[in-house]
């Protein structure tokens, strides 16, 4: 829509800005508190008398809230634009680089620590968390020459790890940490001017610093080679710009929580308007970010007024930002270089022999035996005697089988997704499949009330398939632009996550129950379910092995298979559908947080397995092994309390992935 307009960049940007401002003003007017009349507002403008509450509210709640919305939006837009420029990465943003999750997790920890953490204000903890997470992603990104998809994926890995850890905290401390749901979705209500007092200097300093460095940012945005040839210390320059952007983000997250999407979508929209200079991009991103968050918060207040629910602004930015970004992406080509991942052609193509399979199979068998027979009671570990304790064995059997089949299914799904995307660090989570299932689950519970496990299963399944279909449709239009497809997947994930967050923030006790399911509680698996999943898995694995030739060729890119006479589109579609089916089915058992779909195929590839058929076999075994072990650990780690297996897998898997990603230096690409 915008890109098609034949106007000058300035006019296009002004058009978008005017639209956002109009939405904000109209929503504010419609949602205006009738207590604040013109005379009350005049009274409250400067020094409200304490006995006229409406005037105090206008002065200490309404006005600072508008100021915070504008400042936070401007900060996120600016930070996102700077990150995207210096990383040359359209996927970079405060949320996709893990910064926001870092802040959220640190805040949860400091709340639980209580007085022990009181020597620093919560803002400082949140700031430390944001810097820590951002720094980690930077270190990993540097090893991969800041490859856009890789950096975004590492950011998401850090984000997922931290949100899994935060979910664990909420699960065990639901009553104390209820606020995290709201805080995690950017609730902008204020009760004094302390918010603007922090955000204004932060924004002013960062904006001044970034504008002063506009030439450096411009050179970094062109490429390291150019930057190096004009004598710029690229590493130092990039690091400095990023520290400013992350610090600004951290300040925002500390004051208002996670406001998704503004930092990702606004710079993208600005780029589509094609501004002529770096300074113009930064200023336009800040300006449009401010107006966007103002409009979003006004809409959030309007939505909150019309019912018993409270809708946070961050959820609104996701609800409206995701479709906008989606529409923009589907109508125009992302003006960034598509960066095909460098393939490692060095090293041997010799497959790991049967030794790997033997080791994996033996490991899995041992894990199953341990999971079935070794339990833990209050007294300690206890070996189960099958002859005496048949019922206990029967209680364990479904969950061990469920973990096994679900782990194997999501691992296979991950392998297929990685083949399609052509990036060995992709995962089913990226397609929004798990978020689709989670959103459908939550909506079903909230709309239909408590329903049976079967109905829940079907709802989640529908949601997952729907989400995949959307991304699939999108991927079709942008086959050759991996970044665009990933961005669409992330957009969808954030959109669905916003729905889940609004729901969780408003429903009290159901929220923690839902959280338990979403964290991958294998407690609920029944034997028929596990067997059904096993049958599905067997059919899918069989199909993949039958079609192994076209699937193996998928990751050579579109040109080669096409030259070989392969119908690439059909092969991609079918493979993606199959992987969606597997991922959604396993999401129902081990939740959307498990990292098995990413880790298992990756581990297998690292072990040296290159051909598809042995890859499929080894991936299935590795996924099953990971999940069975995770589920057992969750069962016995803190008895009598149970940690959902999906959560344990998510924690260990994302940590493991982070270490792997960090270890694999740039040397891997060099050949």
């Amino acid at each position: 829509m915008i890109a098609a307009m034949p106007w000058a960049p300035g006019a296009r940007l002004l058009g978008v800005g005017a639209f956002l401002a109009a939405v904000g003003i109209l929503a504010s007017a419609a949602g205006w508190d009738p207590r604040v009349t013109v005379s009350v507002a005049r009274l409250g403008l400067f020094d409200p008398p304490n006995d006229v509450f409406a005037a105090v509210m206008f002065h200490y709640a309404t006005l600072p809230r508008i100021a915070v919305a504008l400042l936070a939006g401007a900060s996120l837009g600016l930070a996102g634009a700077a990150m995207q420029a210096v990383l040359r990465n359209p996927l970079a943003s405060p949320t996709t680089l893990g910064v926001a999750s870092g802040a959220s997790f640190a805040l949860a920890l400091s709340t639980l620590a209580g007085s022990a953490a009181a020597f620093l204000p919560p803002e400082a903890w949140s700031f430390l968390g944001a810097m820590g997470a951002g720094g980690l992603v930077y270190l990993i990104g540097r090893r991969h020459r800041f490859d856009p998809a890789r950096v975004a994926l590492s950011g998401m890995a850090v984000g997922l790890f931290l949100s899994a850890a935060a979910s664990g905290l909420v699960l065990f401390n639901g009553q104390q940490l209820a606020f995290l749901f709201l805080w995690g979705s950017g609730h902008l209500a204020q009760s004094d001017w302390s918010g603007p007092a922090v955000l204004l200097p932060a924004f002013a300093l960062a904006a001044a610093a970034l504008l002063a460095a506009r030439r450096v940012i411009g050179i970094l945005a062109v490429g390291d080679d150019v930057a190096g040839s004009v004598g710029l210390k690229t590493e130092t320059a990039r690091l400095l710009v990023l520290v400013v952007a992350v610090a600004l983000t951290a300040a925002v997250v500390a004051r208002v929580g996670i406001v998704g999407f503004v930092g990702l979508a606004i710079p993208a929209i600005v780029r589509l308007c094609r501004p002529r200079s770096v300074a113009a991009t930064l200023v336009a991103s800040a300006g449009l970010g401010a107006l966007a968050l103002f409009a979003a918060d006004a809409s959030a207040q309007l939505l909150s007024r019309s019912g018993d629910r409270l809708v946070p602004a961050g959820a609104v930015t996701a609800l409206f930002g995701a479709p906008v970004l989606f529409a923009l992406l589907s109508r125009s080509r992302l003006s960034s270089r598509p960066n095909p991942p460098l393939r490692r052609s060095a090293g041997s193509f010799r497959d790991a022999g049967p030794a790997l399979f033997a080791a994996l199979a033996a490991g899995l068998a041992f894990a199953i035996l341990v999971a079935l027979f070794l339990g833990r009671t209050g007294g300690g570990f206890e070996l189960l005697d099958p002859a005496r304790d048949g019922t206990l064995l029967l209680t364990r059997l479904p969950r061990v089988l469920g973990a096994l089949t679900a782990g194997a299914a999501v691992a296979l799904s991950g392998l297929l997704v990685q083949k399609i995307v052509g990036n060995d660090l992709a995962s089913p989570e990226l397609l929004g499949i798990s978020s689709g299932a989670a959103a459908a689950l939550v909506l079903a519970v909230l709309v239909l009330g408590v329903i049976s496990r079967t109905a829940l299963l079907l709802c989640g399944f529908g949601g997952a398939i729907g989400a995949t279909a959307l991304v699939l449709w999108f991927a079709r239009r942008h086959r050759d632009q991996i970044a665009a497809v990933l961005l669409a997947g992330i957009a969808l994930g954030v959109f669905l996550d916003a729905i889940v967050r609004i729901a969780l923030a408003n429903a009290s006790l159901e929220a923690t129950a839902l959280l338990a399911w979403l964290s991958g509680s294998t407690v609920l698996v029944s034997l028929p379910e596990a067997i059904g999943l096993g049958l599905l898995l067997a059919a899918a694995a069989g199909m993949v092995l039958l079609c192994r030739r076209p699937i193996a060729l998928l990751d050579l890119g579109a040109a080669v298979p096409q030259a070989l006479g392969l119908r690439v589109r059909a092969a991609q579609t079918l493979t993606l559908l199959l992987s969606a089916l597997l991922a959604s089915a396993s999401t129902m058992v081990i939740g959307p947080l498990s990292f098995v779909g990413l880790v298992a195929p990756h581990l297998v590839r690292m072990a040296g397995v290159r051909r598809l058929a042995p890859q499929v076999g080894a991936t299935l075994l590795a996924g099953a092994l990971l999940m069975v072990v995770a589920d057992w650990l969750g069962r016995v780690a803190v008895t009598p309390w149970q940690v959902p297996g999906g959560l344990v897998a998510g924690l260990f898997g994302s940590l493991c992935f982070l270490i792997l990603a960090a270890r694999r230096g740039a040397g891997g690409h060099a050949a």
Partner: protein
């Protein structure tokens, strides 16, 4: 061949599960009859705190409850004896621990429906739902209390508990009337964070308790099925005559974060020095929690007016 797959597998699953549910329903009904007719169950497990406190109030010490530390922190009354086993989180109970305890009866509730078949495999299950039904919560508590009385063969004790509750309400109402506080308007809230709170309204236990005490619930807006609305502090300025009662446990610091801001200080209740912190008050409990709440409210209000 692809498109048929998504239909067949869940279809088969659905059919299997439906069959399982059909078969389990008569079995569960048979179990009920046995439980109610024959000897009263001795070893009872409560999956939710409201059921646990009701059992204790009827003089039955449950074999185990879910999240015992949580019960001690958030419910408190009646006190939970030390010997009661813990079967883990309320949403994620430890089924193995549960099976080891070999209970005679599991008191579950509607919100744990997905777990029903798993629980039924261990022991007879009865669903008694106190909260979150969307209807009048106090009515649900009364019928839930009677139901637990019937299931445990202590119907007389249940009726006695209901009578005692009514007497306690009357006693508190009398105290408030004597203090000249009859008809006092009250907001009953729980703090979430600096700018967010839950205001209890229609259908909540708090609403019933307030009306039994001769007080008026100042919040008349929409509520969710649990009987509260998630709102901002400025919502507490709607009724200028109302006191604000904050359910405990709540710390001084948390109170200050909401009520000691420029906005919080300007609330009518703050200016009238009518914001009160209550002791531990579980808003989703049974009759004992309702009486605890009534006593806490009465104490806070009578202290407030010299």
């Amino acid at each position: 061949m692809m498109p048929t797959r998504p239909i067949t597998i869940p279809g088969r699953l659905a059919a299997l599960l439906c069959l399982a549910m059909l078969l389990s329903a008569p079995a569960a009904a048979a179990g009920t009859a046995a439980a109610a007719g024959a000897a009263a169950p001795a070893r009872i497990v409560a999956m939710e705190w409201a059921a646990a406190e009701t059992l204790l109030a009827l003089g039955i010490v449950p074999a185990a409850i879910a999240d015992a530390p949580g019960y001690r922190a958030w419910v408190g009354h009646p006190e939970l004896p030390a010997g009661v086993a813990d079967i883990g989180l309320r949403q994620e109970p430890n089924l193995e621990e549960l099976a080891r305890l070999e209970p005679d009866l599991i008191l579950s509730h509607a919100h744990l429906l997905p777990l029903k078949e798993k629980l039924a495999a261990i022991a007879p299950v009865q669903a008694v739902t106190f909260n979150g039904t969307g209807g009048d919560t106090f009515a649900a508590i009364l019928s839930g209390t009677r139901e637990i009385g019937r299931l445990t063969g202590r119907s007389a004790a249940a009726e006695r508990l209901i009578d005692e509750t009514r007497e306690a309400f009357d006693r508190d109402a009398e105290k408030l009337r004597k203090a000249g506080l009859a008809g006092r308007h009250v907001y009953f809230v729980r703090l979430v964070d600096a700018n967010t709170l839950r205001i209890h309204g229609k259908n909540s236990v708090a609403a019933t308790v307030l009306s039994r005490l001769g007080l008026v619930d100042a919040y008349a807006g929409d509520v969710n099925e649990w009987g509260f609305a998630l709102s901002e502090p400025s919502a507490l300025a709607g009724d200028t005559d109302a006191a604000i009662l904050v359910a405990g446990p709540v710390g001084e610091e948390e109170m200050a974060r909401v009520f000691d801001t420029p906005l919080g200080r300007a609330l009518p209740a703050s200016r009238a020095k009518a914001v009160r912190r209550l002791s531990v008050t579980w808003t989703f409990g049974g009759l004992v929690s309702a009486v605890t709440m009534a006593d806490a409210i009465t104490e806070a209000l009578t202290e407030a007016s010299p």
